[in-house]
């Protein structure tokens, strides 16, 4: 979709593209092109200025004592609070949650996104309605939906209601919900015997967050794949069909390879989302119980505004998160650069 948009204005005057190899002409042109510094400066100052200032300031605070807070004497202690972070199991737990989230969300989003897009590309009844339902969660604020999801996963909420009516949950003598006999036996065989149908508990809370976040972002994957599928040459599909390929085969061997650029950009998008994750974990579980659904964002927030605020340590964690984010943005830029020539080749051929 974006491809066709960005190519649109090019087509009309493409022969006049700035292919000025003659040095005289290019020099004269350069001389005449007015300077543009003042045009980029406002945006540059607001974004780069503020963000880099904050980064520098964070870096400075991170060198202060870990429990430093505004008003305390600013004595530089060096990298002590970084050691503190590396030695903190909580830091590694939240990092691990971030990584697990990234992998699971990416796999689910890609498969479901492709499946939804494929189904809606073949003519189905009420396609627009389905499209709206799938994309709506992308639009509604996570903070608004969070209490709803708390309700959905509540002990007496809809998820357990469905499981109960599917015969997987029974109400035991004490009036509490419990798994039916064979299921609890199965769970205890895999070492999860103490897991009750209460979703906001240490062994499952992180999965609630992952499920909810996937719920709210599948629509995005779907829209991207839907757009990308619309650009596939119909002749290619027809050729595959003439060669005797069925629906599933066409999808796996013709459609999916054509979606590769989207699959790559979805990975980057997901990496950013997983580093930014805050609203849902903060509002649904608060990172708990017992830090079982802590992510880097909620960890930093709790260090800042928790029972006692540790600005120094929060800044240290921010710097570490920032290094991760920077790594992602470098990967993103590299893959964008690599992606460009390929696209141009495609444009020429078409």
């Amino acid at each position: 979709m974006a491809d066709s948009v960005s190519n649109a204005p090019k087509s009309s005057l493409v022969s006049h593209a700035p292919a000025t190899s003659g040095s005289g002409a290019s020099q004269r042109r350069r001389y005449r092109t007015p300077s543009g510094l003042q045009w980029i400066l406002p945006g540059f100052v607001v974004s780069v200025g503020l963000i880099y200032f904050c980064i520098g300031y964070s870096g400075y605070i991170s060198l202060l004592p870990w429990n430093w807070r505004p008003g305390n004497p600013e004595t530089i202690q060096g990298f002590a609070s970084y050691l503190r972070a590396f030695n903190s199991p909580l830091f590694w737990t939240s990092l691990q949650h971030t990584l697990v989230f990234f992998i699971v969300a990416y796999v689910v989003q890609t498969t479901m996104g492709i499946i939804f897009a494929a189904i809606l590309h073949s003519k189905v009844y009420a396609a627009t309605l389905f499209k709206v339902i799938i994309f709506l969660p992308v639009v509604i604020a996570p903070a608004i939906m969070a209490p709803v999801h708390r309700r959905v996963f509540a002990v007496d909420g809809p998820i357990n209601w469905i499981l109960q009516h599917l015969g997987l949950i029974q109400i035991n003598g004490l009036g509490n919900r419990d798994w039916v006999g064979w299921l609890s036996t199965a769970l205890s065989h895999i070492g999860q015997g103490n897991v009750t149908p209460n979703w906001i508990q240490p062994s499952t809370s992180v999965w609630v967050i992952i499920a909810v976040q996937i719920w709210s972002s599948i629509g995005m994957a779907f829209i991207l794949f839907y757009a990308a599928m619309g650009q596939i040459d119909p002749e290619m599909l027809e050729a595959a069909r003439i060669d005797g390929a069925g629906n599933i085969r066409v999808l796996l061997w013709v459609v999916v390879p054509n979606l590769r650029p989207t699959i790559v950009s979805l990975a980057i998008l997901n990496a950013i989302t997983s580093l930014k994750l805050f609203d849902f974990p903060y509002l649904i579980t608060g990172g708990g119980p017992a830090h079982s659904s802590e992510f880097l964002g909620t960890y930093i927030y709790s260090e800042l505004f928790g029972v006692s605020s540790h600005y120094g340590y929060a800044a240290t964690l921010s710097v570490l998160l920032l290094i991760l984010a920077l790594a992602v943005s470098i990967i993103m830029s590299v893959s964008t650069r690599e992606g460009r020539p390929r696209r141009k080749v495609k444009g020429v051929r078409v």
């Binding site: 090019k10 092109t33 503020l50 980064i55 189905v124 604020a141 939906m145 309700r151 829209i223 800042l304």
Partner: protein, 247 residues
């Protein structure tokens, strides 16, 4: 298809069904009788509108400069900006809180609008610049030969030609600023009259009392403008978000 969609419907269904339990429509009456309900919306509108306006003009100007004008070390500036592309807002929290209270901006809308704008610009500039790169330089040269200054070129050429990009910018920034939760929470505080739409459901939960049905009614009221906006402008939303996601 209908089966696959069920997980998507469950939360929406729960939201509406839960909001009508207990005292039924009374939950909605309670939401609408909430003190300063309109302030939540007003604050969100102010923040979103200002952020959109700032991001739009700063992005257009920057893309114009990066793409069509002569700047020394242009790519260096561009890469510096792209370095800020994936910045999670929580990273900026510590320094922002300290700085905002130092310069006396804490509690003002600016303390939310400026960081929100700063976080959007790298991305929108990346998008818009690659779009403006596709507009032939010859058009701008022709205008220059005809005597149009840079201002004139910006307003009469770039702004109209980059209109498709405006849709993407508006949708992206609207969703990101309207849905913002962390920055308004931290910067504006939780005092009454200072809150935004995403905090509406908090009004019915306190340490002592959590009124679940009213919370859900509040969620419906808070989500409704977005749902209506999306359904009426469906094509623009989908196009804008998709353009935003593909670099």
């Amino acid at each position: 298809m209908a089966v696959l969609v069920i997980p998507f419907v469950i939360p929406l269904f729960t939201m509406v069904q839960g909001s009508l339990q207990g005292i039924g429509w009374g939950n909605y009456t309670a939401v609408f009788q909430l003190d300063g309900l309109w302030l939540y919306f007003r604050n969100s509108i102010i923040i979103s509108a200002s952020t959109i306006a700032m991001v739009y003009f700063l992005t257009m100007a920057a893309s114009f400069g990066f793409s069509k004008l002569r700047i020394r070390n242009k790519e260096l500036f561009f890469w510096l900006m792209m370095g800020a592309l994936t910045m999670p807002e929580v990273v900026l929290l510590t320094p922002l809180v300290i700085t905002a209270s130092k310069v006396g901006m804490a509690g003002t809308f600016w303390a939310v609008i400026i960081p929100l704008t700063a976080l959007q610009i790298p991305f929108t500039t990346l998008l818009t610049r690659s779009y403006v790169d596709g507009i032939p330089d010859a058009l701008f040269e022709a205008a220059r030969i005809d005597g149009a200054g840079t201002w004139r070129q910006f307003w009469s050429l770039l702004v109209p030609l980059a209109k498709p990009m405006a849709v993407a910018i508006v949708v992206l920034v609207l969703i990101n600023s309207w849905n913002a939760y962390l920055l308004p929470l931290v910067m504006l505080g939780q005092g009454s009259g200072n809150q935004v739409v995403t905090q509406l459901t908090n009004a019915f939960s306190s340490q002592y009392r959590v009124d679940e049905t009213k919370i859900l009614a509040g969620a419906v009221v808070a989500a409704l403008p977005e749902i209506v906006a999306y359904i009426t402008l469906q094509r623009f939303f989908e196009r804008g978000m998709a353009a935003g996601a593909i670099k």
